[in-house]
């Protein structure tokens, strides 16, 4: 027996002989296949229908307990996820008005409480979010679903399995927004006395998992839904336990000690140890970008495209990815180069400091006259990766070609507030770049809301007040294109244009690492912010 084994055996025998067999999870039926998953969140997301806590809330509560009209195809890892039919089997848009959408609902779908999903349930749920005059109206879920509610003018039942939704104006992006609206059971809500607080403890959706137990701030226990309407996506595992575990090192320690089977976002410096211990470290590119949004206010130097291109050419992205332990890939635009919306930009974003210096000289800058800019970032936050060392790296790179970059660091919520205040807001005076990572799951949020000149806050997210009639026209074309393949082509043309214009400084795409215990199998790292837990099994 070696020294370490001796110590382990000795300590175990001396200290805790009677309880050594007990793990951290509650006892349950023998032979159950249980997945214990550590989220990065400090609490269990809201379980009433529209989950709280952003994409991670949707990932682990929204997509497990609930369904939407459309779902994400998370079955493949070789392309960015697309929408597929969900609770709506098919839909059509009135070719004349382009504002009337008709949805044919899937039949024989049951909520977890056994009640049927139908047109009445759809209308009841839309009232829940849009009609203040109904008893089920829930401001908290409205707050969670806010971004998905835009543009809906009215809705009505055509028959038990057909509903119609009318939009204020022709808007093809409703397709994506409806993927964010989940359907809660009206029967369960009545059963709990019309109290959303009680509903949160006993939620009922149509999703592949059912909530069995909720321990606030600690864990949620879900069991498989054997009657799930999509037989292909009935979970292979019996039980899923979601733990709230915000500290990254704690999550890793829990995985290494065998208390957890899956951890989200292990820190890059723990990856070698995890691999050494036989853990599966899984990552894939997904629709995320870590950029600098540029300001187009009157005093901003970035009106000059030469400076925008120079900044994009000055960054050693490969070096930065190495700094991040290989858990990122260089960005060549808003979406990654393999994405269907990437297009064929003429401007190739790469590391070329000589070309950057040449552009700086042409723009009138050089060692004697440096271009002074201030960028805003946060010390942490959703999708921000390792913002401080990354900003220092970029600051150094830009300094080498003639920029003099000042970095202002604020709290994550303060950064979001500054983003909403627009580049011309008083608090953003002198700030010419905003380092705010962005999601590109849907084109409305990822592209149109930050590009179109009409989308300056508070309407959209065009913080920098980018205003380009050509880009606007390309946005409008995509918004009015209802055929998804042609819409993808329109989005590619738009993306190609903004890359050629070097609209922002794009730096890297996160690879979204997660670590899994060796016994887990069947996980497909989809190119999405979400995962399909139904496919998982245990060896």
């Amino acid at each position: 027996m070696d020294r370490r084994a001796f110590l382990k055996t000795g300590a175990s025998a001396a200290l805790f002989p009677a309880v050594q067999h007990l793990g951290m999870t509650p006892g349950r039926a023998a032979g159950e296949k249980v997945l214990r998953l550590a989220m990065t969140l400090g609490d269990i997301p809201l379980t009433t229908g529209q989950p709280s806590q952003g994409a991670e809330g949707i990932r682990f509560i929204g997509l497990t307990l609930y369904d939407s009209m459309f779902g994400w195809d998370l079955s493949r890892s070789d392309q960015a996820a697309k929408l597929i039919p969900g609770l709506a089997e098919s839909y059509s848009v009135d070719p004349d008005t382009k504002t009337l959408w008709t949805f044919n609902l899937r039949r024989a779908v049951k909520f977890h409480d056994g009640s049927g999903f139908n047109a009445d349930a759809v209308l009841w749920n839309l009232d829940k979010l849009l009609n203040k005059g109904t008893p089920q109206f829930d401001p908290i879920q409205v707050a969670m679903a806010g971004s998905y509610l835009a543009g809906i003018k009215s809705y009505r039942k055509i028959d038990d399995y057909t509903v119609a939704i009318t939009t204020n104006e022709p808007d093809a992006m409703l397709y994506y927004r409806l993927a964010g609206i989940n359907f809660s059971s009206p029967e369960r809500w009545k059963e709990v006395g019309g109290d959303w607080g009680k509903f949160a403890e006993r939620p009922s959706g149509t999703g592949p998992w059912m909530l069995e137990k909720l321990v606030p701030r600690t864990r949620a226990e879900l069991v498989r839904n054997p009657n799930y309407w999509d037989r292909e996506r009935i979970p292979k595992l019996d039980r899923l336990i979601l733990f709230a575990m915000p500290d990254a090192n704690t999550r890793v320690a829990a995985l290494l000690s065998g208390e957890i089977d899956w951890v989200e976002a292990p820190p890059p410096d723990t990856v070698p140890r995890l691999k050494q211990q036989g853990m599966q470290v899984v990552s894939n590119v997904y629709p995320h970008v870590w950029p600098y949004w540029l300001s187009y206010t009157a005093d901003s130097p970035f009106h000059d495209i030469r400076l925008r291109k120079a900044a994009n050419l000055a960054i050693d992205r490969e070096g930065l990815c190495q700094l991040l332990g290989g858990l990122a890939i260089p960005a060549r635009g808003q979406v990654d180069a393999s994405h269907r919306w990437f297009g064929k930009p003429a401007f190739e974003i790469k590391y070329d400091p000589a070309a950057a210096r040449k552009l700086m000289t042409e723009a009138g800058y050089g060692p004697a006259r440096r271009c002074k800019v201030k960028f805003l970032t946060s010390n942490a936050g959703s999708g921000q990766m390792q913002p401080l060392p990354m900003n220092e790296f970029v600051q150094e790179n830009l300094g080498q070609v003639g920029f003099e970059v000042e970095i202002e660091v604020v709290d994550w919520e303060a950064l979001r507030a500054r983003r909403r205040a627009r580049a011309d807001g008083a608090e953003n005076k002198g700030v010419y770049g905003l380092n705010n990572s962005w999601s590109l799951m849907d084109p409305d949020f990822g592209l149109l809301s930050v590009i179109h000149s009409k989308n300056a806050p508070p309407v959209g997210n065009n913080w920098g007040l980018y205003n380009d009639p050509i880009a606007d026209a390309l946005c409008d074309k995509a918004r009015l294109e209802f055929d998804i393949d042609r819409q993808d082509q329109a989005l590619a043309a738009l993306h190609q244009y903004i890359v050629d214009q070097a609209m922002w400084i794009w730096v890297v795409h996160d690879l979204n690492p997660r670590a899994l215990a060796p016994k887990l199998k069947g996980f497909v790292p989809a190119q999405a912010w979400y995962v399909n837990l139904s496919a998982l099994d245990m060896a």
């Binding site: 200290l15 007990l22 793990g23 509650p26 606030p216 709230a244 000690s257 919520e413 303060a414």
Partner: protein
């Protein structure tokens, strides 16, 4: 005595009002818009306005404060913004969990601090005194979260004999299982109060050992164990003050230790509430903790009075009893 306690409780009222005002103001002094966490990106302005109105965030600040205070006085701390559960139902279980942790830590700290502090005083100037002094300083200086992580790596990851996170589930596990979860965070939390108590006890006992009454007791032939009891009784009030302060501090929850061990106490609750910008939970938790701190100090004052007749005499002489 009763009057003294009542007076101390009356003094608590303005403190409570001040604390409530600070708790409320803190939310608005923090950077960013309090509503920002509630409103998702890309939310239409009309929906955003609707959300502000639903949460009363469209009202002037004094109105918001008075409404909040009125509800708090009736025991209603409001609903959590992110979970919609009553804040009071979040805070009370969290305080219970923190109480378990703080209780264990202060008990262990008292045992270690008093034992080693006394030993050091009796061995003043010798190797044991220096060793204990160095250990106490190390205990005070070691960052608790760092110690927590080291303990996890050693006992959970490498040896695999203790759980790294959580507090188990008392309903489906045994008491022993829950106790196993308590061991590592308790040790991590113990070192600072143990060091402080040891230093305080060493200093007080050392001072008492040099006093004439101790020599007199020895000269009168009192056995050393009885003399020791007299010394400890005299040393108790200053030690109690330190213990009281440390216990109140531990009850305030250690954000870092509770986060490292995912222990669902007040520190963990505050941490997650801050990160999710759950303002009502932050307000309710800070207010409850502040009041707990104040009341613990009142309790320590009363205990000191009961333990040390000099306090009583001093107050009687100064008319404080009137």
């Amino acid at each position: 005595m009763l009057l003294f306690v009542l007076k101390r409780l009356v003094y608590v009222l303005p403190i409570a009002l001040g604390v409530s005002l600070i708790c409320f103001a803190l939310i608005y002094l923090a950077p960013g818009d309090p509503a920002s966490a509630l409103i998702p990106d890309n939310t239409p302005p009309a929906v955003a306005a609707q959300i502000r109105q639903a949460y009363g965030l469209d009202k002037p600040l004094p109105v918001q404060y008075l409404r909040w205070l009125g509800r708090v006085l009736t025991g209603d701390f409001g609903l959590s913004l992110s979970t919609r559960r009553p804040v009071i139902s979040e805070v009370i279980p969290a305080m219970g969990n923190t109480f378990k942790l703080a209780g264990g830590a202060i008990l262990l700290a008292c045992i270690c601090g008093i034992a080693f502090g006394t030993r050091a005083a009796y061995r003043s100037g010798r190797a044991a005194d220096r060793l204990i002094g160095a250990a106490a300083i190390a205990g005070i200086s070691v960052p608790q979260y760092w110690l927590g992580m080291v303990l996890v790596v050693l006992f959970s990851v490498n040896l695999g004999i203790l759980p790294a996170t959580g507090m188990g589930d008392i309903k489906s596990e045994s008491l022993l299982a829950e106790l196993r979860h308590l061991i590592l965070p308790t040790i991590a939390l113990t070192v600072v109060p143990a060091g402080l108590i040891a230093r305080s006890v060493r200093s007080t006992v050392g001072e008492i050992l040099g006093q004439e009454f101790v020599q007199t007791l020895h000269a009168n032939g009192l056995p050393p164990s009885r003399v020791f009891l007299h010394i400890m009784k005299n040393a108790a009030p200053p030690a109690l003050a330190v213990i009281g302060l440390e216990f109140a501090r531990l009850l305030g929850g250690s954000i870092l230790v509770e986060t490292v061990f995912s222990w669902p106490g007040t520190g963990f609750l505050l941490n997650s509430a801050i990160f999710t910008r759950d303002l009502t939970v932050v307000q309710g938790t800070v207010l409850a903790l502040a009041m707990f701190f104040v009341l613990t100090n009142v309790l320590v004052d009363v205990l000191q009075m009961l333990l040390d007749p000099r306090f009583k005499r001093a107050r009687a002489a100064s008319g404080a009893w009137q």
